[in-house]
């Protein structure tokens, strides 16, 4: 099988700082691949190596079975959408998009045909003669993409292009980009520090930390079974404890947290008593009950007081101040996300209400500390 892009043990140092170290991954054709990581994790350097603006110290970049070593940016079959878009302010929309074709000395007739076509595709059919500063943020975005697409790149590189947009537009553009990619079938390599962007759009995500790749997988895999504490905390919200495995009681393991809580999780053969572990529980995996009736099947169950409620439209976030039970004096604020149903308005669970919070053993995600 050939991949759209193969990175083989890429490394890049700036002085004594190692920006990217030994990064390898492959991207299959037609996928929407994201590289997710906090700022300074080396993702921009990685992208610049792929686009050709900087040369790797070690390793190789292979695009459609062709090594990119020594090939200048303008000769690589990739194009980049820049963080600030880098549209040419002195040109019209049409000229911006035609720029690459003109550089390739394509005939005028063909240029205008291709540009019109790509403008149609990105939904800017009437805007060719507009100046860049006459466009809205979203339109600029589409022009920047169209400018690359018209060159029919093998891979489109996107360097946090939504960063400059306001929230509403960003939400909208996420969907737009995803749709566009599906429709075009071009391979997208997308760089972002925003996990929700990555989750919404990508078919695969590589999470980067300090120049290395922590985990590669589908959004679902990353969300449901993160392989490291970093990924668990970086991708999506999580309630987090740290503790030690104290005993096995089939089919569970029991973990004593640093706060003194006792939590149950599903047993796995890799565990040993005494292992230091992190436990993560997604807010939406938690359930809340108020009143007398003790719920069934909750192997983890704690009493607490609702400290605040945030209504999100489709969901409600509860912050519940929970005492660790078993006489533990440490209380911890847990985030619980509930579907907002008709009828269970604020009156149902106002802040200050005493509740019980629980979850099943399956929802406790246990990761050994210091192990990848």
């Amino acid at each position: 099988m050939t991949f759209a892009l193969e990175c083989r043990s890429l490394s890049k140092r700036f002085g004594s700082f190692s920006a990217v170290s030994d990064v390898s991954f492959t991207i299959s054709e037609g996928s929407f691949f994201s590289i997710l990581g906090p700022s300074g994790c080396g993702k921009t350097t990685l992208l610049r190596m792929i686009s050709g603006f900087c040369e790797p110290d070690k390793g190789d970049i292979v695009i459609h079975s062709r090594s990119m070593r020594g090939i200048l940016p303008n000769a690589r079959p990739v194009n980049m959408v820049f963080q600030q878009l880098a549209l040419f302010p002195m040109m019209t929309v049409f000229e911006n998009i035609a720029y690459g074709l003109r550089c390739r000395k394509v005939s005028k007739k063909k240029i205008s045909f291709h540009v019109e076509e790509v403008l149609n595709r990105v939904g800017l059919a009437q805007s060719g003669s507009k100046k860049i500063d006459q466009l809205s943020g979203g339109q600029k975005q589409r022009v920047a993409i169209a400018r690359c697409l018209v060159l029919e790149p093998k891979i489109l590189l996107l360097d946090e292009p939504l960063g400059a947009l306001d929230l509403k537009l960003r939400e909208h553009m996420k969907i737009e980009l995803k749709k566009l990619q599906t429709q075009l079938g071009t391979t997208f390599l997308y760089i972002t520090h925003d996990q929700s962007e990555a989750l919404v759009m990508s078919s695969h995500i590589a999470v980067m930390k300090e120049g290395r790749i922590e985990q590669i997988g589908t959004p679902q895999a990353l969300y449901q079974s993160p392989k490291s504490s970093f990924v668990a905390q970086f991708v999506g919200d999580n309630n987090h404890w740290r503790g030690k495995i104290v005993q096995f009681c089939e089919p569970y393991v029991e973990v004593q947290t640093e706060e003194g809580w006792k939590l149950k999780a599903l047993y796995s053969s890799s565990f040993q008593v005494g292992d230091r572990v992190d436990i993560f529980v997604r807010p939406e995996a938690m359930l809340v009950k108020s009143g007398e009736k003790k719920p069934n099947g909750w192997v983890n169950c704690f009493e607490g007081l609702v400290s605040s409620v945030v209504f999100n439209g489709g969901t409600r976030d509860l912050w519940v101040n929970v005492r660790g039970g078993n006489g533990s004096s440490f209380s911890k604020e847990l985030k619980v996300t509930l579907p907002a149903q008709k009828g269970d308005g604020e009156a149902c669970l106002p802040s200050g209400r005493a509740v019980e919070v629980g979850w099943d053993a399956l929802s406790s995600h246990v990761l050994k500390v210091g192990v990848k």
Partner: protein, 286 residues
Amino acid sequence: MNRLLLKWNVGLLALPLLLWIVLLIILPLSDLFISSFQEKVGVGVFEWGLGNYQAFLQEPFYWQTFIRTVLFSIIATMATLGVAFPVAYYIAKVARGRVKSMLFVLCLLPFWVSELVRNYGWMIILRESGLLNHFLMKLNLITQPIEFLYRDATVMMGLIYTSLLFMVVPLVVVLENLDESLLEASDDLGGGRLISLRRIIIPHAMPGIVSGCIMVFMLTLGNYLTATLLGGKESLWFTEHIYNQFMTRWNWELGSAMGFLLLVVSSALVWLGLRMTGQKLNKVMT
């Protein structure tokens, strides 16, 4: 009481500007304009008329010098742009830190001495028995000294040298504002250096180019010393004509007409330059 004083103060602050505009711009220019339409018909007797402008047009050496001066100024402006652009680009985009400020100071250096001294310096270097010939002879590159002075090319070089700073400064300012990602984008889209220069850098730098060109053109057109001192036997600069009319011929009326023509034509050329490059004066001058 206080408010009255405040008003007075504001008035006083505006006074120098007002005086400057009225005394140094409006009055002399209207004087120039009026006296350019006065014809001398006898000793101390004047009449209104277009005679001075006629005299200008009827004397080929007046308007020939005029055209020569304008052409020379245009060429000098273009040449200054050609020399200054790479320098400015280097200062704005390549040099960093101390090198950058040092290069800037180097451009400024010629202005620490007066124009006269600067030109005498050139004369010492370029004259037949000057430094340049001395070295060329020492190096056995030539056997006979060459006279580098008194040539049009020398005048041109002197003009470029004098004008360089006035071109470099506005260029550095605009080029520093050039977003590097635009160049990367151009590179990424397949544009080589020349294409990036022609289609990204130059259009971006246009306001700076135009303002630099206006300044240099005006300076060159109004130059007097460089053209007279470095120029040859046939070399005549239009300002020299104007000076002669005022000073040695006592013909202030013709001098005024010439001065006014110079003003009108240079303004027209600046306007034309702005039109051709699609720039606005207020944008270029800020």
